[in-house]
């Protein structure tokens, strides 16, 4: 058994102390109560401020518990995520001329949380609420690569001849998505349909969703079968923009 880590114990003590006192606490008070030198305590609280667990009052310089701590047990509300994504998803559809989907993990699959039609005037069906298999979609590969506690896939059912049905092929695709920061799917769910997806990340980079453009193979991939670089760039940029706005004021 390794011994306990002193700095973590001390940080926990600081948090307990701040949590027990109703008002912001000056550094000297913390130092006295914890019987530690001021520079040591200062180093600890600065670090805790950096990670958002403690905030320092800009006027008095005193410390109090930060919002980051109360948010620890919370998961991002999916509809808040949709609400934050709407403008970026619209922009992505407008610029690429392709249909846009936003997906989140739901059990063994991807749930489509938001869907923007392909802006070409053709009749389309709103797919919000639809469940798609994780292993057969670009959205799913991104979620498997970037989201924690991704559910273990039990059965890799084949949708088309291109669906990855062996664990090895799927693992390779997910690892590639993780390395590149995006995923591509070519006819793995519906023949002739391709997609490019990128992660939407919450603080600390944890994946909370995936944003994708979906369209006919010839619009999404080059003649050689590679994803069109400009599309990849736009999807990644839009997903990053949504990520950046997740922390905005409500």
């Amino acid at each position: 058994m390794p011994g306990s880590i002193q700095s973590i114990e001390r940080a926990a003590a600081v948090l307990h102390f701040l949590g027990a006192v109703p008002e912001p606490v000056p550094l000297g008070e913390l130092s006295r109560m914890l019987a530690l030198p001021k520079p040591t305590v200062h180093g600890i609280v600065r670090t805790l401020v950096d990670v958002g667990f403690v905030v320092q009052d800009p006027d008095s310089g005193r410390y109090t518990l930060g919002e980051g701590l109360s948010r620890l047990g919370e998961t991002l509300d999916p509809h808040l995520l949709r609400s934050r994504s709407v403008n970026w998803a619209d922009g992505l559809a407008a610029r690429t001329g392709l249909e846009v989907q936003l997906g989140v993990l739901a059990g063994q699959g991807v749930e489509l949380l938001h869907h923007v039609f392909r802006p070409d005037g053709s009749p389309q069906r709103l797919r919000v609420g639809e469940l798609q298999p994780l292993h057969a979609t670009a959205l799913g590969h991104v979620l498997l690569a970037f989201s924690p506690a991704a559910s273990r896939l039990q059965e890799l059912v084949s949708s088309t001849g291109s669906t990855p049905t062996s664990p090895v092929t799927l693992t390779r695709a997910v690892q590639q998505a993780f390395r590149r920061g995006w995923a591509v799917a070519d006819g793995t769910l519906r023949p002739g349909v391709a997609a490019i997806a990128a992660p939407v990340r919450h603080h600390l980079g944890i994946g909370v969703g995936a944003l994708a453009v979906v369209g006919p193979r010839e619009r999404v991939l080059s003649v050689a079968g590679d994803p069109v670089p400009a599309l990849v760039e736009q999807v990644v940029a839009a997903a990053a923009a949504v990520s950046a706005h997740l922390e905005d004021r409500l």
Binding site: H79, L80, S83, D90, A94, F117, P119, V128, G129, L250
Partner: protein
């Protein structure tokens, strides 16, 4: 000198001032925003500082350009959309407002309006400007200022001060202010003052006389798409090509150019406007006749408007007053935990019932409570209230105009709520469509400005920019719809006559 490739819009709203930049396809390329303070000095009063709004305008313009890496010379024109009916009077010599701006949410003119309605000129107003006198419109607020700011009536007569709604104030300042500022308003904003003849589109002397408003204080009324002047500050050299009241801007931005086309904008309140062409619809159902738009050298196009006072505001109440949720979008998460409303209905008659009922003695109710009802059912009832209110206004509008709806175009923040949009489609038994660019208000202002300078050639060209982003189809069975409608109607009945003599009366008001 580069060829101008973009058009900007200033969206001066109730809580913030924004600048959006659009490309030729109507796609948004930049947005900058600053909020301003809300002042509530007394119960029922709601004010803004017009100087702060102007300062924020000067901040958002360069910020939006920077975002897209643009110079003012990249802009073909700028258009303005604004919160309607908010009233500003300023000193022409110093450029400073003589009093705080009285906003559309302010109810201080209730008594003045009651007097007007009891007096001989009430019918004249209805006939000439198309509006029954109400505290909702700008002229009673101007009258209030003339009565309460010392010396203002005299100074108005002497031409020393200027009146305007927010677009007038911004245009005057952008075109030089004290140094040659252009003092104009557009027909849509002017149509909400109660002073404009809705047929001639000119100020009407009889209405001015009825409120004793000196003509010297008024701006000149102009079409929506016309170059009013060029900016000397903010966007130096860029022509101001259009101005619009926000709801008419959204109608224009949604390209509702044909008779019978309608849109509903879901914000704090919800506003349903239908293009009625050259017809001024007289309403049997408490709807308002208003100018939809006027293009230079062409006859005006009219609209009928139904306002729902409490839409997003009910979700805000659920969040802030009941503390049931932490953010507005979470209401959908909560509501989705249950299959239905559990028999619970909420009628948000917070300040009486509005269109089409107009009952000022009504107050809000939550009915159908049993031990079975949870906060998730309440969340459903909150969303359903917005849908049923929409249905009531749609029915009133169809009855007034004789035009049956074939679908409803929607925009505004609440369209991100999928459950709500599905429910609106279900209770209307009509498809509901959301456009790709949800910023219809700003887009409408940009379209007007772009048309004025030839950046866009005509209305048909603008239609090509409208793309469907989502479409909800009705899925509710007829028997269920009838049953739910009957329950909603019973809930509405329970709101009536709540306020009795001796109660502290919070006056019912229209929201704009």
């Amino acid at each position: 000198m580069t060829t101008p490739t973009y058009v900007a819009a200033i969206d001066q709203g109730t809580t913030s001032t924004r600048c959006l930049v659009f490309d030729h396809g109507g796609r948004m390329v930049a947005v900058a925003q600053h909020e301003h303070h809300q002042y509530f000095p007394r119960p029922g009063w709601a004010e803004h500082d017009a100087s702060e709004i102007w300062a924020n305008t000067l901040r958002v313009l360069p910020e939006a350009l920077d975002q897209a890496g643009l110079q003012p010379s990249d802009l073909a024109a700028v258009g303005i959309a604004n919160q309607r009916e908010t009233t500003i009077v300023w000193d022409r010599a110093t450029g400073r407002p003589v009093a705080p701006a009285i906003t559309w949410q302010d109810t201080r003119t209730a008594e003045l309006v009651d007097e007007l309605n009891r007096g001989p000129s009430a019918d004249l107003f209805r006939e000439v400007c198309g509006l029954a006198p109400a505290g909702y419109f700008a002229a009673p607020r101007l009258r209030w200022l003339l009565d309460h700011v010392p010396g203002l009536q005299r100074r108005a007569r002497a031409g020393e001060v200027a009146f305007g709604t927010v677009e007038s104030w911004l245009i005057w300042n952008l075109t030089g202010g004290t140094d040659g500022g252009v003092h104009v308003t557009d027909v849509t904003n002017a149509s909400r003052t109660m002073l404009m003849d809705i047929r001639t589109l000119d100020w009407d002397q009889r209405l001015l006389d009825a409120l004793d408003i000196p003509a010297e204080i008024l701006p000149e009324i102009r079409p929506n798409a016309q170059v009013y002047g060029s900016c000397t500050v903010g966007l130096p050299g860029v022509p101001i090509g259009g101005a619009f009241g926000d709801q008419q801007a959204a109608l224009f931005g949604q390209t509702c150019f044909a008779t019978g086309e309608a849109k509903c904008t879901y914000g704090t309140g919800a506003f349903l406007l239908m293009n009625t062409g050259d017809r001024i619809a007289t309403s049997e159902h408490g709807l308002i006749s208003t100018v939809a738009y006027a293009l230079e050298g062409r006859p005006p196009v009219y609209a009928t408007e139904g306002s729902i006072a409490v839409a997003g505001a009910l979700v805000q109440w659920f969040r802030d007053s009941l503390e049931m949720i932490r953010s507005a979008p979470e209401i959908e998460t909560l509501a989705r935990r249950v299959e239905d409303n559990g028999g619970c209905y909420i009628v948000p008659a917070f300040a009486g019932l509005f269109a089409p009922r107009w009952q000022s003695d009504a107050r809000g109710v939550v009915v159908g409570l049993t031990s079975y009802v949870t906060r998730s059912h309440l969340a459903r009832a909150v969303l359903e209230a917005t849908a049923w209110q929409t249905a009531e206004v749609v029915e009133a509008m169809a009855a007034d105009t004789g035009i049956a709806f074939t679908g409803l175009k929607v925009d505004g923040g609440m369209t991100a709520n999928h459950l709500l949009m599905q429910y609106v489609s279900d209770v209307l038994d009509l498809p509901v469509e959301r456009p790709l660019v949800a910023e219809s208000v700003s887009l409408g202002a940009a379209y007007a400005a772009g048309l004025a300078v030839g950046y866009w050639p005509d209305l048909e060209g603008l239609r090509d920019n409208w793309h469907q982003a989502a479409r909800w189809e009705p899925t509710m069975s007829d028997p269920l719809r009838r049953r739910e409608r009957a329950a909603w109607d019973r809930a509405v009945e329970r709101t009536l006559g709540w306020v009795v003599a001796g109660d502290t009366v919070v006056p019912a008001r229209r929201f704009g």
